[in-house]
Structures are given as C-alpha cells and as structure tokens.
Amino acid sequence: MNDGPYPHSAGQVPVLRLGDVLLVTVQGDLYDSTAQRLQDDIGAGVAAGGVTGVVIDISGVEVVDSFLARVLAEIAAGSALLAARTVVSGMRPAVAITLVELGLTLPGLETALDTEAALALLSRGTGGTFREPR
C-alpha cells in the first residue's frame, strides 16, 4: 500500500506498554510509511528494555499486501533478536486467505485468535500455535 491520500500526515499507530508486553492495535488500513514508522517504534520500545513480548492486533485491517507481510515478519525477527516474542492476533479470514494465496505463510511468526489469546500465549512461555508436529 502506498502512502495514501495524505502522505505528509501519515498516521501513527500507538504502541502501548502493559507490564512486560508491548500492545499494538492497528486500526484501518496501514500505509507503507505508517508501517515503517510502526516498525521503528516497536524496535525502540523493545530496546528500551524489560519487554518480553509484542502483541500486534490486526483485527481492524482488511487489506494486506506483501510489503506489510514483510514488515510483520521483520518486526518479529527484530524483536526476537532482543529476546521478545511477537504474536500477531486477530487476522481476518480474507486477509489469511490472501496471504496464503500470495505464498506468504509467515513461518516463525506466532499467531493468536485475539488479543486475549495472544496475551495468554505470551504468559505461558514457549509453545503457541506454531510448533513442530509430533
């Protein structure tokens, strides 16, 4: 997605800190510049210390392109370097289908049904919905 109708007033996505978790709720469509800024904000938040998990709620996002998928994967990889786990929650069915059809299955990214499940996932340590079959 490009910079949208107002490139100079590109919105900011608030990054909330709840204890040792960073909570990001994305509302509406995410433009490229906003996504980039979000990535920087989260990086700074994790680097500030004391953060063990990042929850990105995208239940308000209806359109996802390959760039946004890459940003999500990069946020996860970057946070992992700083010892924080990233969980993406609330992805809509249409978005999931789009990503799969694009071939972007985002391996290594943890997912949860909603924010509550994501927080529960983080609080119970390792595991989550993505793991090797046994």
Binding site: S89, M91, A96, I97, L99, T105, A117, A120, P133
Partner: protein, 299 residues
C-alpha cells in the same frame, strides 16, 4: 400440359404447408391432444392440451411462411419455446429418455400428414409430395427444438445441483468448546476447497476456535492439487491463530501422498476424528494448565 397448369395454382410447398396449418389448426390441435406427448403433459384438462397444440401449430405455420423450415432458430419458434421446454422437462422428469421424448414428438407428424393429404385431393401428385416433404422437414425441426430445450433444461439442473452441492457438502461443526471440524466428503476441486477454506476460517472467528479439524475420511482420492488445498487451509488457519489437524487419512491415500512425494511435514495429522479431538483437548488442557493464574480466561 394440364399438370403444369394445375401445379401453377399452388404456391411454393412451404407457403402451401403454412396455409394448410392455419386452415386446419383446430383439427390438428384436436388430434395432437390425443397423442401421448400432449395427453401426458396436460393431464388436468383436454382444453389446455388443445390450446397448447394450437399455439404450436400457429408457430409452425409462422415458420413455414418465413420459408425457413429447416432452421431451428427461426423466429416463429420463440413463441412456443418456453411451452415446449415445459413439456419436454415434464417428460424427462417423468423418467423418459431423450430418445423417447424424440419419438413422442415424432408421433405428432402422421396425424398432420394425413390431414395434409386429405386437404389436397385435387392437387397433382408432385405438389402433394413436395408439401408432405416440407411438412416432414418442418416437424423434424420441431423435434430438434424440443430436444434442444430438453437438453438445456438438463444443463440448468446440473448447474443448480452443483451449487447445492457446494452449499450442502461443507458444514462446519463445533465439536467441543474451541474445537471446530469439517468432515469433507467427495472429490475436492478448487471451487469446493475455496468454500471449505472460507467457511472454516469464518467458523474459527465465530466460535473463537483454537483448533480446527479437517476430516478427509470421505475424500476418495488425494492428488497433489487436493494436498495443496489442504496445506493452504492449514496455513491460513495458522495465520489466524488456530491450529489445524488433518484426520482420517486412509492407508491408500497415505501411500499415494508418499508416492507423490508431498511434504505434509508442517501439518499435524491424526488417524481418526476421535484421535484428532483427543489431541485438541489435550493440547488446550496443557495450554490452560501451564497458563496459570492470570492466563487465558476461557472457561
């Protein structure tokens, strides 16, 4: 030559047949009402059969006037096409084969032919022969029109049933709190697997399901395409935060998957639906137990 003169007072065979049909339309319709095609379709009243017969005769006359006795697309047929379709459809619903319907339409010809011959007592033999031939061709065209409508009716039926199958064959059921399952039955094509994927993902959102079970006990064969669809569904469910379990892979299908060299390594598989449910319950239990206080508030 006297015969030549006699022939000249007659128009072209098509025009003669058209005039004859209009002149004798009441008699022809009465005779046709007794034939099995009209008799069996219009069982309620004979008047209705006669009225339908009249409409068909008039359409034939219009076609004959236009001189396009061989053309099944002639404008004259448009008026009766719906009527014929209804008759043809009713006959094929009654279990008649297309050939039988064709025979029944053909049975309309002899009565009309008899009337035509009786109608031209003084005409030279050649004129009578030409007229009979034209009438035969015309009736053949009528037969073609009826068969066309019967066949298109069959096509519509198939299309309708295909859509019904799409809706009916993909129920998503809630097996347990937070566990949904889709029992897949029949062959999976792209259209069906798309519907399965969409309804499963919708159900995951609606039921807040942590686990989704794809049961393929009823799928007769699995090829690489079907396997790819399964993998896509599993990946999409994972992106939404649910875990997908594939169950009910029969030994023969397992062999096929191995032979095809398909890698289902990232997919959790279980032998039966019961095993898959047991797995889901155990997993959600351990998840809840280790979550401890302040963990998931799901009851």
């Amino acid at each position: 030559m006297p015969e030549q003169e006699a022939a000249e007072q007659y128009g072209t065979p098509a025009r003669e047949v058209g005039e004859f049909l209009r002149r004798r339309r009441a008699q022809i319709a009465q005779r046709w009402a007794d034939e099995s095609l009209f008799r069996t379709v219009f069982t309620v009243s004979r008047d209705e059969a006669v009225e339908s017969g009249l409409a068909v005769v008039e359409a034939l006359a219009a076609v004959a006037d236009g001189g396009r006795v061989q053309d099944s697309d002639a404008a004259g047929f448009d008026v009766v096409r719906e009527r014929l379709a209804r008759m043809g459809a009713s006959r094929s619903r009654a279990g008649l084969s297309t050939a039988r319907v064709s025979t029944e339409v053909d049975a309309l010809r002899p009565p009309a032919e008899d009337l035509l011959v009786a109608d031209l007592p003084d005409a030279p033999e050649r004129v009578v022969r030409d007229c009979v031939t034209t009438l035969t061709v015309l009736m053949g065209t009528l037969r073609l029109v009826v068969l066309e409508t019967v066949l298109s009716e069959g096509q519509e039926l198939i299309e309708r049933q295909r859509l019904q199958l799409l809706e009916v064959a993909t129920p998503v059921i809630e097996l347990w709190d937070g566990v949904v399952a889709v029992p897949l039955i029949g062959t999976l094509d792209s259209a069906r697997s798309q519907v399965v994927m969409e309804s499963l993902l919708e159900a995951i959102v609606d039921q807040r399901a942590r686990f989704a079970i794809l049961d393929i006990t009823g799928v007769p064969t699995v090829d690489s395409l079907v396997a790819q669809h399964l993998m896509k569904t599993v990946a999409a469910a994972r992106l939404m935060g649910a875990e997908c379990v594939v169950s009910g892979i029969r030994p023969a299908i397992a062999q096929t998957i191995v032979h095809l060299g398909l890698d289902l390594g990232t997919v959790v598989t279980r032998a039966s639906l019961a095993d898959a449910l047991a797995y889901a319950l155990r997993e959600s239990d351990t998840g809840r137990a280790s979550a401890g206080p302040g963990g998931s508030g799901r009851p």
